[in-house]
């Protein structure tokens, strides 16, 4: 029997009206603009873009505002929006070597072409709350120094000269990059698909997994070969023109993790690599991604799969916070009938046990 229950409509309407009120908050305060969110909460905007897998700063800021700052809700909104748009095509792969670098550090080489460029980093701050930000104090313009006309060389290219590090990661010529948004997930999964999943994966989840590899659950001896943040051109081939044109620039964060590797039956001793590439400025995410990318290459490199971070199906199936939140949060929706059925079942089981116990007691009393 199926019984439809109605009656939530007025409550839902009023709940949404209340939500709109609470979102706006105290009306005596000015409302935040999208531009303010983009400019002043830029890293929250970046996180929404990265995990929604959609680069658009204004829309990500709108989503963050609409969600009252609940970033997973904002990611959900942006993911839902993307399904309403047609796809025009694919970009030419980004050339991160030609990035306009805003930050670049290496933990493996002190003096390297292009130098260590700290950029706008939280590193080396004392993590003390700054009372000057309670008010709207004027802020100094950044310091400037003539920029040398020196190429900011990739660290992986430096190491490659010695032949002690593996290459960038290739597939046979005929391999086409898979697309998670178009094809159902299947395991085992090639590295290109894994990277797509990790690039949109939940930062907290990947951070915890990356951390677990450092603590010994699938240890892989990482060094940050290089982190670079900056803008790259997005180019697309134009069939009507016969060549690629720029659509503009996006900011990305790239992490090249270099891992010591003592060799296995499949590969000689060398440095292996994990790769992280993320929309926006997010080096924590890019670093975590590269640690997990490397851990997930265990099978390819002939390592024992002993830790959660090396388990491809476990990691990739649980990395998406929109899927995760959907399944966890659906538990709060009405399960009245399921629960009534379970309640009846538990009552019956309890009744059976109690009846059996009374009979046992009766028999014992009779025997005494």
């Amino acid at each position: 029997m199926y019984v439809a229950v109605k009656g939530g409509e007025a409550a839902i309407n009023n709940a949404h009206r209340l939500l709109a009120d609470r979102r706006r908050g105290d009306r005596s305060l000015p409302s935040m603009t999208i531009e303010q969110i983009v400019e002043q909460l830029g890293l929250a905007v970046d996180r929404v873009m990265a995990e929604a897998s959609l680069y658009d700063r204004s829309l990500a800021a709108l989503a963050a505002r609409q969600s009252r700052g609940d970033l997973i809700e904002a990611i959900f909104l942006l993911r839902a929006y993307r399904t309403t748009l047609p796809r025009f095509g694919m970009s030419v792969p980004l050339d991160t070597a030609r990035m306009q670098v805003e930050r670049r550090v290496s933990a493996t080489y002190k003096d390297l072409p292009g130098g260590q460029l700290l950029g706008p980093t939280f590193d080396y701050t004392h993590r003390l709350l700054d009372p000057s930000l309670l008010e709207d104090q004027p802020v100094d313009e950044p310091a400037r120094r003539p920029a040398p006309d020196e190429e900011v060389m990739r660290v992986s290219d430096i190491l490659a000269h010695e032949g002690l590090i593996e290459g960038d990661g290739s597939f046979p010529e005929e391999h086409e990059a898979g697309d998670l948004t178009r094809e159902p997930m299947e395991f085992p999964m090639p590295r290109d698909l894994r990277l797509q999943a990790l690039a949109r994966g939940d930062e907290g989840f990947l951070l915890a997994l990356g951390y677990s590899t450092q603590r010994g659950y699938g240890r892989n001896h990482p060094f940050v070969g290089e982190i670079r943040i900056g803008e790259v051109e997005v180019e697309m081939d134009m069939p009507e023109l016969g060549f690629a044109v720029s659509l503009g620039r996006i900011r990305v964060t790239e992490c090249q993790m270099v891992n010591q590797f003592k060799g296995s039956a499949k590969a000689p001793p060398q440095f292996t690599r994990g790769y992280g590439l993320v929309f926006g400025q997010s080096e924590r995410k890019a670093m975590a991604m590269s640690l997990v990318d490397r851990a997930l290459r265990a099978q390819e490199l002939g390592e024992d799969i002993i830790a959660p971070a090396q388990d491809e199906e476990f990691v990739i199936s649980h990395s998406d916070n929109v899927q995760a939140t959907g399944f966890v949060e659906h538990l709060k929706l009405p399960h009245y009938v399921d629960f009534q059925a379970e309640l009846a079942l538990v009552r019956r089981m309890r009744g059976d046990i109690e009846k059996a116990r009374t009979q046992d007691d009766d028999m014992q009393e009779a025997a005494e």
Partner: protein, 157 residues
């Protein structure tokens, strides 16, 4: 299906590529100002769009290896036709339809001999200068955060 860039574009292709890239990076304010300053405003007919969609942005494994799908970006594109019969195309990141429609009009005007110099002088060159100045400023601000290592000499020599 790796997009291999043409080894060398012919000069007129390279010029068109530069113009398209600058039109994509022009702000709506720059495009509107150029339109307002245009001595003769053509009645451009929309052929396609302006329409907003997605482009799948690809990266390369390890930075230079096999391509993978990084995530999508919003893109708006438009094609217009001038009364003279010249078609203009434009495409740019973001969702601004008005910006891209104007960019398509200027793409068409740039292709016409009579207006090319005007578009170059009044729109493309100023946009190029602004971009170069912004890039220089950013590069200089970043350069000021470069670490100058020095060695501390300790003890007796």
């Amino acid at each position: 299906m790796t997009a291999v860039r043409e080894p060398a574009l012919r000069p007129e292709q390279a010029a068109r590529q530069r113009a398209a890239g600058l039109l994509a990076k022009a702000t709506i304010a720059e495009l509107k100002a150029a339109w307002d300053g245009l001595p003769q405003k053509p009645a451009a007919k929309p052929v396609r769009g302006p329409e907003t969609g997605l482009v799948m942005v690809r990266g390369r494994i390890g930075g230079g290896g096999a391509p993978f799908n990084l995530g999508e970006a919003t893109v708006t594109r438009a094609t217009v036709l001038l009364p003279s019969g010249t078609a203009g195309h434009a495409q740019a990141l973001g969702t601004s339809k008005e910006k891209v429609r104007l960019a398509a009009v200027f793409d068409a005007l740039w292709q016409e001999e009579a207006t090319q110099n005007w578009v170059e002088a009044e729109l493309l060159a100023p946009v190029e200068d602004r971009l170069a100045a912004e890039d220089r400023q950013k590069a200089e601000e970043t350069a000021a955060t470069r670490v100058d290592f020095f060695t501390m000499v300790r003890g007796e020599d």
